[in-house]
């Protein structure tokens, strides 16, 4: 036991005057007795009795000295180093990010943190106040500064772990700024470190204690998921899954892929400790529905990152109109089963017919007013938005934009072109193929539609005889119809992020309901949008907008959260007291002045009672 104010012990010197006063104060009543003979005899025998027995007669003095001792000790403010702390104002910051769901602490890091926070609240006195800040994907003040410890305890109990990437920096910043309103405030952070850079967070002078929650790092998780068209075949889709092992030992991991609950693929790989492992799963072009990816690793402490979801819409049939054109072009287009090809003569073109198409390939004159349509013009002679100038002979290809979807796998090297037209005005299009005389192929968006324009007549080149021709045609049509195709239309959000969707004008906000992996979730509607903020669980969410049904999925996919290895320090730049262990940080000074004063009060009551009893007697 130590003392915060040892000078207070000087008060003990009052014992001497107290004893003196006691004996001086005794007003002995004179009582006449027949004889002192027997009292003398008694006194003689008393001398043989123990000194303590003699002192018992001065019980009141003894009690008064005890009272003085209690007050003296209380003034010296003794304290014990205990495992529960005592503060004046405490801010409890509880990390609710996905990594706090790790099970290296029983039952989870989050629940262990909650229990410890409750212990701190239990240890507080009636004059102490506490605030609870939750730092998950969203930051919130679960309980503002309050002396109602029961309410604070309930607020801690009500906190829920989220399977989302956390934002500890924001939580700390909020806690520190609110803590500024109190002097001597203590901020206790229950977290595994969060993996964020916290050096920019200013503590604002608050005393910070970091309770490192968790100890092990054994975890493997899915950190990336992507659904793309196959680079080799536009007809196929591929699912890219990246998993990483963050443990200290390599482990075996099995990835299973399900489409609408039917297994599509399964792969078991050795997961090294230092690098991620990517796996690719082919999906049939016709695949549609919910894709679920599961990871099963040998040593794994976190559940939330072992599952990811994707949604695949059925590839829609794209309507393509070929105006004019030769058989070669027509055959190239008909090679794609996803295209609904219609071929007409240039004279049969009507506006209504054009409006029905997803893309038009003009190998004939382009009619006026084609704004808003997506089309390809196969010759400068057919017109189109680009303004051409003089004819040039034997242009030489200098280069092309290989990264543009239209140019994918199209080889221009060695292509011979007899004649082309110079481009005088590009009309907002971007050259994809450049020759020494100017652009040969241009593409771009225009008036809400997409346009691909050739500056030469293919029939005056050897391009149609090359493999590049059908590839160019199909690439172009694919690009022009990209919005329609949406082959990998994935409605995905990171967990914790808000999902939003513009509501149709006719939609009645009252009819909108949504269910998530854990049951019903709240939908907010405002400004013509439906929003779902409660996306804290990994999984599939179903939204009903009247008759329409929308599905989206929330995935964790966070390297920061999958790397559950707790940080030994928070890394705050200033004024932070980093605790390396929970036990150490929870230590505090438990002042004893209150129980001492209570004891003093009890002694006072006993003294009063005895004094009164004697007086009555």
């Amino acid at each position: 036991m130590n003392f915060l104010a040892p000078l207070g012990l000087a008060l003990g010197a009052l014992a001497a005057p107290l004893a003196a006063l006691y004996f001086l104060r005794i007003r002995r009543r004179k009582v006449k007795v027949p004889s002192l003979l027997l009292w003398h005899a008694l006194k003689q025998s008393e001398k043989l009795a123990s000194p303590f027995e003699r002192f018992r007669r001065h019980l009141l003095l003894l009690l008064q000295l005890m009272l003085l001792a209690a007050i003296t000790l209380a003034f010296a403010r003794p304290y014990l180093e205990t495992d529960v702390a005592q503060f004046r104002s405490v801010v409890l910051v509880i990390d609710g990010s996905a990594s706090m769901g790790a099970t290296d602490l029983e039952p989870t890091r989050f629940e262990a943190a909650r229990d410890q926070a409750e212990d701190v609240i239990d240890s507080l006195g009636v004059v102490d106040e506490v605030m609870v800040v939750y730092a998950g994907a969203t930051t919130k003040v679960a309980a503002p500064f309050t002396r109602d410890l029961g309410a604070a305890r309930q607020a801690v109990r009500d906190l829920q772990l989220s399977e989302a990437e956390g934002n500890l920096a924001e939580g700390l910043q909020l806690a520190f700024s609110l803590a500024k309103s109190r002097p001597d405030v203590e901020v206790i952070v229950y977290s595994d470190g969060g993996g964020e850079d916290l050096s920019a967070v200013s503590t604002g002078g608050a005393s910070v204690k970091y309770v490192m929650t968790g100890g092990r790092s054994a975890n493997a998780g899915i950190i990336a998921l992507d659904l793309r068209r196959s680079p080799t075949s536009d007809l196929q889709q591929q699912l890219f899954v990246t998993v990483q092992n963050y443990g200290r030992q390599s482990t075996k991991g099995t990835v299973e892929v399900y489409l609408q609950s039917e297994m599509l693929g399964l792969r078991t790989e050795e997961l090294p400790t230092d690098s991620p492992v990517s796996m690719v799963f082919d999906l049939p072009a016709s695949a549609a529905g919910i894709v679920q990816v599961k990871l099963d690793a040998d040593r794994d402490l976190l559940e939330a990152d072992n599952e990811a979801w994707a949604l695949v819409d059925a590839a829609a049939l794209r309507k393509v109109l070929l105006v004019g054109g030769d058989r070669l072009t027509a055959r190239a287009l008909s090679a794609d089963p996803r295209l609904d090809l219609k071929r007409i003569r240039p004279g049969a073109v009507t506006r209504s017919l054009l409006d029905e198409q997803d893309a038009i390939v003009f190998d004939g004159p382009v009619p006026d007013n084609v704004d808003g349509l997506s089309y390809m013009v196969l010759s400068p002679e057919h017109g189109g938005p680009v303004v051409f100038g003089d004819e040039v002979r034997a242009p030489r290809v200098l280069g092309w934009r290989r990264t543009h979807p239209v140019m994918r796998f199209v080889e221009w090297e060695g292509v011979t072109i007899a004649r082309a037209r110079k481009v005088s005005e590009q009309a907002g299009l971007v050259p994809l193929v450049e020759a020494d005389t100017g652009p040969l192929v241009l593409a771009g968006e225009r008036g809400g539609g997409r346009v691909v324009q050739l500056a030469f007549d293919p029939l005056k080149s050897d391009l149609p005889l090359r493999v590049a021709w059908p590839v160019l045609i199909l690439n172009s049509v694919g690009w022009l119809t990209e919005d329609v195709a949406g082959s990998a239309t994935v409605q995905l959000v990171p967990t914790g992020a808000t999902w939003a969707r513009r509501l149709p004008v006719s939609a009645d906000p009252a009819t909108i309901t949504a269910t998530g992996p854990d049951g019903k979730v709240a939908v907010q509607t405002s400004d013509g949008f439906a929003r779902i903020g409660d996306t804290h669980a990994v999984g599939v969410y179903n939204v009903r907008l009247g008759d329409e049904r929308i599905v989206f999925a929330a995935n964790l996919l966070s390297q920061r959260e999958s790397n559950i290895s707790p940080r030994p320090t928070l890394g705050l730049s200033e004024g932070a007291t980093n605790a390396t262990a929970a036990a150490k940080v929870a230590q505090g000074r438990r002042e004893l002045w209150r129980p001492l004063l209570l004891f003093g009060l009890l002694v006072l009551m006993v003294e009063w009672f005895i004094w009164n009893r004697r007086k009555v007697a």
């Binding site: 002995r28 009582v31 007795v33 002192l36 018992r56």
Partner: protein
């Protein structure tokens, strides 16, 4: 001084002597000198148990009432009722002693003993010479009533002034035994006067367990000496043990000196004491 019904009951009693000595009246007490003098002395009413030989049949014939004849002997007995009237006896103790003394004096007067009364402290404060017969009852009682407490206990000194009586007798000493120098000397001197001595140790309940709790200055009623004490339950218990041990010591002292000893608790009803306890002890009898 004593209730009439008690007096009635006392009439049948005789003060008993522990040893057969002289100074007894015929028909009342066994004596070495029984029947030597048959001189009529007095009458007293018959009470059941009286020897029928001493009934005065003439009186019965005339008054139709039973009276017993009392005869005077030459060597009669003096019953000395000696009250310690030092200041320590003040209050209930003296009052009780006075009543027991009066009762025994009454018993003695009924048997033609001569009864002397003395009140002793450090001097002979009160004295009534030996009187005989029922007629002396009032005088004896008055003397007893006049005795007031005061002064120190110096029985030894007081005895110097106390006159010797002719013949043998019984001394009835009523005292609290609170003698600074101890009771031995005084008892021996009383014994030396011939006859037998019976000590009545008067103890008040407030002496056995004083009504004290707290801090006091105790003042000696006799000497005025003071003593500071702090009293609690524990002290009271030890004080009671001390008193008990001391009373027992007094009893042993009396026994050693051949003095009769009876402890009187002032809380005990007088009738109980005389008619039951003293009869049991053989101090009085029929």
């Amino acid at each position: 001084m004593l209730p009439a019904d008690l007096l009635q009951k006392l009439s049948a009693l005789t003060l008993r002597s522990r040893k057969r000595g002289s100074g007894v009246r015929a028909g009342e007490r066994r004596s070495r000198r029984r029947g030597q003098s048959q001189e009529f002395a007095d009458h007293r009413p018959y009470v059941p148990g009286d020897d029928l030989r001493f009934l005065d049949w003439h009186l019965y014939g005339r008054l139709d009432a039973l009276w017993v004849k009392l005869f005077e002997e030459e060597d009669d007995r003096v019953v000395q009722v000696i009250l310690d009237c030092s200041a320590s006896m003040e209050g209930e103790k003296l009052e009780y002693a006075r009543q027991v003394g009066a009762a025994l004096a009454y018993v003695s007067l009924g048997r033609t003993d001569r009864v002397a009364i003395a009140g002793l402290s450090d001097a002979l404060d009160h004295y009534s010479p030996p009187r005989r017969g029922r007629g002396a009852t009032r005088a004896v009682f008055d003397t007893l009533q006049q005795i007031q407490a005061g002064g120190e206990t110096q029985l030894d000194k007081a005895l110097d002034a106390y006159p010797r009586h002719r013949g043998t007798g019984i001394g009835l000493l009523f005292t609290d035994f609170l003698y600074p120098e101890g009771p031995d000397k005084a008892l021996r001197r009383l014994m030396a006067r011939g006859g037998e001595l019976h000590a009545f140790h008067v103890i008040a309940p407030s002496e056995l367990r004083p009504d004290l709790d707290g801090d006091y200055v105790l003042v000696d009623a006799e000497t005025g000496a003071e003593m500071t004490v702090s009293v609690d339950e524990n002290v009271l218990e030890r004080y009671a043990s001390t008193v008990e041990a001391w009373a027992e010591e007094m009893r042993m002292t009396c026994q050693r000196l051949g003095v009769g000893y009876t402890r009187l608790h002032t809380s005990q009803p007088l009738e109980d004491l005389i008619l039951r306890d003293l009869r049991k002890q053989g101090v009085v009898g029929r």
